[in-house]
């Protein structure tokens, strides 16, 4: 296919965008430091004294990268990502974003199980697609395993969301 290897975006554009981003990050750090005081107070250097120069260096280095990219603009021809490659990345990245967004709503266990289930269900590259039972077993198993390891064994409570409320309610009803 001619479309699959076609370049979506050139390296130089991403290079430029990232340099702009880091430069603005530096500017934000400088601004924040300036607010906390970058001078010399009663007790010596003020809180923003050190971070201000960090921001300054960050912006300076980013601007230098930016200029470097512009300077070599004509020579920087290599592609950053192909259309096909980027589609592959998005196919994974978008579900991750949804997974992370659903965590506060559904709790960690439920959203994890759904996330794993979705990944397996959507995998069409296999000759034989996963059966419902396999999906349920793997997704549910992973969620249960994380409960056993984190919450029970290492005593790191994870936000269970509605599931936790349900467990709480059942506990109360049984009493």
């Amino acid at each position: 296919m001619s479309t699959s290897t076609e370049t979506l975006v050139g390296s130089r554009w991403v290079e430029l965008g990232l340099a702009l981003f880091t430069a603005s990050l530096g500017a934000v750090i400088m601004y924040g430091s300036y607010e906390s005081g970058i001078g010399w107070g009663d007790a010596g250097p003020e809180p923003g004294y050190f971070p201000f120069y960090i921001g300054l260096l960050l912006t300076a280095a980013s601007v230098a990268n930016l200029l470097g990219t512009l300077f070599h603009w004509r020579r920087l021809l290599e592609p950053f990502v192909s259309r096909h490659g980027f589609a592959q990345v998005l196919k994974v990245f978008v579900p991750i974003v949804l997974f992370v967004a659903s965590m506060p709503l559904l709790g960690i266990y439920l959203s994890s199980a759904l996330f794993i289930g979705w990944f397996m269900w959507r995998d069409t590259q296999r000759e034989k697609r996963y059966g419902w039972l396999t999906i349920l077993a793997v997704a549910g198993g992973a969620a249960v395993a994380s409960y056993l390891i984190f919450a029970l064994w290492f005593k790191v409570p994870l936000d269970a969301g509605p599931l936790g409320d349900l467990a709480h309610w059942i506990k109360g009803a049984l009493k």
Binding site: E15, L18, G26, S33, W40, L57, D123
Partner: protein
């Protein structure tokens, strides 16, 4: 000798069933993260950190350091069997390891890799045993300016010696420093860079950055390349091991050279990755079978593995004695030490005698345990890589998300992890190094403290960094390192000029 006594004390401390069990668990988890794509030693350790908060520091460091050894070993398994370096530092192992596996010599390659790794690591630990007390004693006379100069040296070495463009290294490093600055100012207790956002009050944790940058970023890179695992089968029989061990002494010179390279690169912040590449190219240059390199030469497996592990181990020397980690993983462990309430640096040796020697003793034992465990479990871990990507990838991502959440029990951190994941993907593709960011995020506050204390001493005069020969030497060395690429180019140009003149006159 006092070192031997201390070491024996440490040994008696760790020789309990509980600690040895922790070692085995640590090694197994380490091999697992080393084998799985997207997880590696730095974020394996970061993921495990929140789980160690309830443990005693000695148990915690045993678990984490053994995970580190396990991850280093696990990286070699994937390099040799699958041609996929599980760790950046085992890239060089793929050059000859995979061809050997293709020729059906996987068992030989694996045994040689693990054994030379163990030898390299043991030399690193020996170095640690006998040098660390001296370095710590020497560093006891350091005050803030000296400490800042040492930090400066570490950071400048990173910039000057990195394979990546220096300015990109600076950008990555400064983002790390910026992260460290967010939240409470450790000197005055004031809040800064929080922009009145409640979720920034507690600061940004380096663990979250590590998990996002290394974990999610790596997964995204992997899917883009559309990686398919096509591995060679391997089973190691005792006969294979003995046969390979009989061949090993022939390569004593390679072993020795690689160990030296590894120790040097580990102590200076060159890190295991640089060490393994350098050692590989040196081995190729000096080998009699030079043309065989890249086609399955045993020496080409031995050289990078030895250097990789001796660098990985000796990276702990500056971490313990000076509080400066020599690798990304050591940086994460250093962060762990600070979370457990220990102060890495020379005082650690006097105040936390048991901890330090327990750790050093565990490194001898842990590496031997690693070798046994890894030899026994190669087929198991090789089969893990045959699990379809559509199962293994979401589970890795889930583990990363839970790991990021459990740092502060905060959902915000999970979102932050995602941002760092995207950043990690861009960084990796555009040649920005990630390790400096982690190093700066961990050391940022300490470096800043040292700098501000120095400024207080001197009333804001930069001259304090040249006020005595020690600090002056360190600062000058730091600047030399920073501008090393320019200096090296200058020297080369000068040299060329002279040879040209000589040629002309001749």
């Amino acid at each position: 000798m006092s070192e031997i006594d201390s070491l024996m004390q440490g040994m008696s401390l760790i020789m309990t069933p509980g600690h040895i069990g922790l070692m085995v668990i640590g090694v197994l988890l380490g091999i697992l993260v080393g084998v799985l794509p997207g997880l590696g030693a730095p974020n394996g350790v970061a993921l495990l950190l929140p789980l160690t908060f309830t443990m005693s520091p000695v148990s915690a460091i045993i678990l984490l350091s053994c995970m580190y050894w396990g991850a280093l070993f696990g990286g070699s398994i994937t390099s040799i069997l699958f041609n996929i370096p599980g760790e950046p530092s085992s890239v060089a192992t793929t050059f000859d390891g995979y061809p050997m596996a293709r020729q059906g010599r996987a068992a030989e390659a694996l045994t040689a890799a693990f054994t030379s790794a163990l030898l390299g690591a043991l030399v690193g630990v020996l170095l640690l045993t006998f040098l660390s007390t001296r370095i710590a004693e020497f560093a006891m006379q350091f005050s803030s300016p000296e400490f800042f100069a040492v930090y400066l040296l570490a950071f400048c070495t990173f910039i000057g010696m990195s394979k990546n463009p220096p300015l990109k290294t600076v950008v990555s490093m400064m983002i790390g420093f910026g992260m460290a600055a967010v939240g409470m100012d450790t000197v005055s207790g004031d809040l800064r860079l929080t922009f009145d956002q409640p979720w920034l009050l507690s600061g940004m944790s380096f663990e979250v950055a590590v998990i996002g940058l290394f974990g999610i970023g790596e997964i995204l890179c992997t899917v883009e390349e559309g990686l398919v695992f096509r591995g060679e089968r391997a089973r190691i029989t005792p006969m294979d091991i003995l046969r390979t061990w009989k061949k090993m002494p022939r390569y004593w010179l390679t072993l020795l050279r690689s160990t030296l390279v590894g120790c040097w690169m580990g102590i200076t912040p060159g890190g295991p990755t640089a060490a393994s590449f350098m050692s590989y190219s040196l081995a190729r240059r000096f080998s009699k079978n030079r043309e065989n390199f890249g086609k399955g030469e045993l020496e080409g497996v031995i050289a990078p593995e030895t250097a990789d592990h001796s660098a990985g181990t000796s990276a702990l020397l500056p971490m313990l004695t000076l509080g400066i980690p020599g690798s990304a993983t050591a940086a994460v462990m250093l962060g762990g030490l600070m979370i457990w309430g220990l102060h890495p640096g020379p005082t650690l040796f006097t105040e936390q005698h048991d901890f330090v020697w327990g750790l050093i003793a565990s490194m001898y034992l842990g590496n031997v345990v690693s070798l046994i465990v890894v030899l026994a479990t190669v087929p198991l871990f090789a089969s893990i890589l045959r699990i379809p990507f559509s199962i293994i990838a979401p589970i890795i991502i889930m583990v990363c998300a839970i790991g990021a959440y459990s740092v502060h029990n905060s959902m915000f951190d999970v979102g932050l992890m995602l941002v760092f994941g995207a950043l990690g993907y861009l960084f990796k593709k555009l040649g920005y190094p990630i390790a400096p960011l982690v190093l700066a995020a961990v050391l940022g506050d300490k470096a800043e403290d040292a700098f501000r204390q120095s400024m207080l001493f001197s009333n804001g005069e930069m001259g304090i960094f040249w006020s005595n020969p020690l600090v002056g030497g360190l600062t000058t060395a730091a600047l030399l390192m920073l501008f090393w690429p320019l200096i090296a180019r200058g020297i080369k140009a000068l040299f060329n000029l002279r040879t040209r003149r000589v040629e002309r006159s001749a």
